[in-house]
């Protein structure tokens, strides 16, 4: 039961991560293969604040989110100069640089990482696994609701516009620079939250936890689930956390499987399992079509 709870915590954390990458890549079209760097910054900032500087968890939480968001805004600056495939290379580079910084900075524990990261305490007692599970699920739910709400507002329209055509977006009074930075900042804030949840559950973090392969893992989740949708991000995160635990062979060839998932999803189901216009909806098309005709007749 405790093990299942742990998986539930991981699934919640990765749901937050996948949704956060989805804001950046799915909504705003800025492909990042360095998302684990932001995850790591959230984890390391919170760990260093509590372990090295003696901060209380509840102070470290907002600080780690805020600092990651600020770093995210800074890391967004290159996206104002470079586009698409070049931006992907830049984000990969950033991932390696950030991991190296953790590794070579004594304050961050160097290659041995940071140990003894405290669990948050509630009413004077630190959370047990079950409580932490509820806590993580709570944050994941908050993330889903927040991003869902955001996706109904004009911010989503602006993201969609810069994703499709930057020059046309500018002609529509949308400042591409401003909204790219928004996307990086919001995305980083949630990645920071995920990092915080990870660090304070694990109790120990290493630079290797946030390497490039972790970024690939997060990208695989949103590609498989369906890029640009919240439901896809959630499904991708849950699938890729639970499947390897039940299919042992998957876990042995983790990176190979992730690679294959990306390749095959891109070729055969580019909008993922639950993306807009994906195969799942095609199977239910008959009902939808009936719907649409009825709607058109009304108008």
């Amino acid at each position: 039961m405790g093990y299942l709870m742990t998986l539930g915590i991981f699934a919640s954390i990765y749901t937050i991560l996948a949704i956060s990458l989805n804001i950046l890549t799915g909504y705003a079209g800025q492909v990042s293969l360095g998302h684990a760097a932001l995850f790591g910054i959230g984890a390391y900032v919170s760990a260093a604040l509590t372990v090295n500087l003696g901060f209380n968890y509840w102070t470290a939480l907002p600080l780690s989110i805020l600092i990651t968001a600020l770093v995210g805004a800074l890391l967004g600056l290159p996206s104002l100069r470079v586009h698409s495939d070049f931006l992907v290379l830049v984000t990969i580079g950033i991932n390696f640089v950030v991991v190296a910084l953790f590794k070579y900075t004594p304050f961050f524990g160097g290659p041995y990482g940071l140990l003894g990261i405290p669990r948050p305490s509630l009413f004077g007692e630190s959370m047990n696994t079950f409580e932490y599970f509820l806590y993580a699920v709570g944050w994941a739910t908050f993330t889903i609701l927040f991003v869902y709400w955001m996706s109904k507002k004009y911010i989503r329209v602006a993201f969609e516009a810069i994703k499709e055509d930057e020059e046309a977006a500018e002609a529509m009074t949308i400042s591409v620079a401003r909204f790219k930075i928004y996307a990086f900042t919001i995305s980083a804030a949630f990645a920071g939250l995920a990092g915080n949840l990870w660090a304070h559950y694990m109790g120990v973090i290493f630079p290797g936890n946030f390497s490039f392969s972790k970024s690939i893992e997060i990208m695989t989740m949103i590609v498989l689930g369906g890029i640009g949708t919240i439901r896809g991000a959630v499904l991708g995160a849950v699938l890729l956390i639970f499947l390897p635990e039940y299919l042992r062979f998957v876990s042995d060839y983790r990176m190979l499987i992730y690679g294959l998932i990306i390749v095959f999803t891109m070729i055969f189901i580019p909008s993922g399992l639950l993306g807009d216009r994906s195969i799942t909806w095609k199977w239910t098309r008959i009902f939808k079509k009936g719907d649409r005709v009825a709607k058109n007749n009304e108008n």
Binding site: K153, V157, A161, E164, E167, M172
Partner: protein, 252 residues
């Protein structure tokens, strides 16, 4: 809108060479010239895609050269593109909803206002109706035929409530019927008091619609005047019409 001795060079190439002219309030001015004359570069200078190397551009009494495209658009200059650029993966309606968020994009109200409010939708549908596109509102923009995409781009620009509309070859690639429809649409817009600057290759279209014409050749202005004047200007005939005739006048 006033263009004051604007020059733009790219390295050694002079794309626009000390060009000056004015667009009067409510006027429909056409900018013509052979390929490579610098028309689209001039458009990009006006809309802030490029910055003039020398010279200034004024709009409504304020200098706009050097401002960002989004700021210039906000001041009241709408534009379309030579190669159509609707947001292809959005529906026709959604395309027009994008500019209707104009007042939210500069502040945090982007987080609180929804494009699905009834007032925006009815406003958008009205604009689509004027563009003869209201029947296509729920179609994906990229699936529309070119003539409709052109009108969609114009409707989208009009949603900004511009004072000046820049149209970059709106009639290119259109058939006779589409072209007629477009002409009607443009004239209707102009009669509502919106000034229009039109780049066009299709001479017949220009002569029919423009009140005044500016001719560019090799980056310089070579003539300016009413259509009949310009058409009989020997320099223009040599630079533009003359050469076209030799090639077989594909635009006639």
């Amino acid at each position: 809108m006033k263009i004051d001795r604007v020059t733009k060079h790219f390295g050694g190439l002079i794309a626009v060479n000390s060009v000056s002219f004015e667009i009067l309030k409510g006027e429909l001015l056409a900018l013509i010239g052979p390929n490579g004359a610098g028309k689209t570069t001039l458009f990009n200078l006006i809309t802030g895609v490029f910055k003039p190397s020398i010279g200034k551009i004024f709009f409504d009494g304020k200098e706009i050269s050097g401002k960002r495209t989004s700021q210039i658009a906000r001041m009241g200059i709408g534009r379309t593109f030579q190669i159509v650029r609707p947001f292809g993966k959005m529906t026709v309606l959604e395309n027009v909803l994008v500019p209707l968020g104009k007042s939210f994009y500069t502040n945090l109200s982007v987080f609180s206002h929804s494009p699905r409010e009834n007032s925006s939708i009815s406003k958008a549908m009205e604009l689509l109706k004027d563009a003869y596109l209201d029947d296509e509102f729920d179609k994906m923009a990229s699936y529309l035929p070119i003539g409709m995409q052109r009108r969609l781009e114009i409707a989208r620009a009009l949603a900004l409530e511009p004072k000046l509309l820049l149209l970059d070859e709106p009639a290119a690639g259109l058939n006779e019927k589409e072209s007629m429809q477009l002409k009607e649409y443009i004239e209707k817009i102009n009669s509502n008091g919106i000034s229009i600057l039109l780049i066009e290759h299709d001479m017949k279209f220009v002569m029919n619609i423009a009140k005044r014409i500016v001719v560019l050749d090799h980056g310089s202005k070579i003539a300016e005047g009413v259509p009949s004047e310009v058409a009989s200007n020997p320099q223009v005939i040599e630079a533009y019409l003359g050469r076209k005739h030799k090639k077989g006048d594909k635009n006639a």
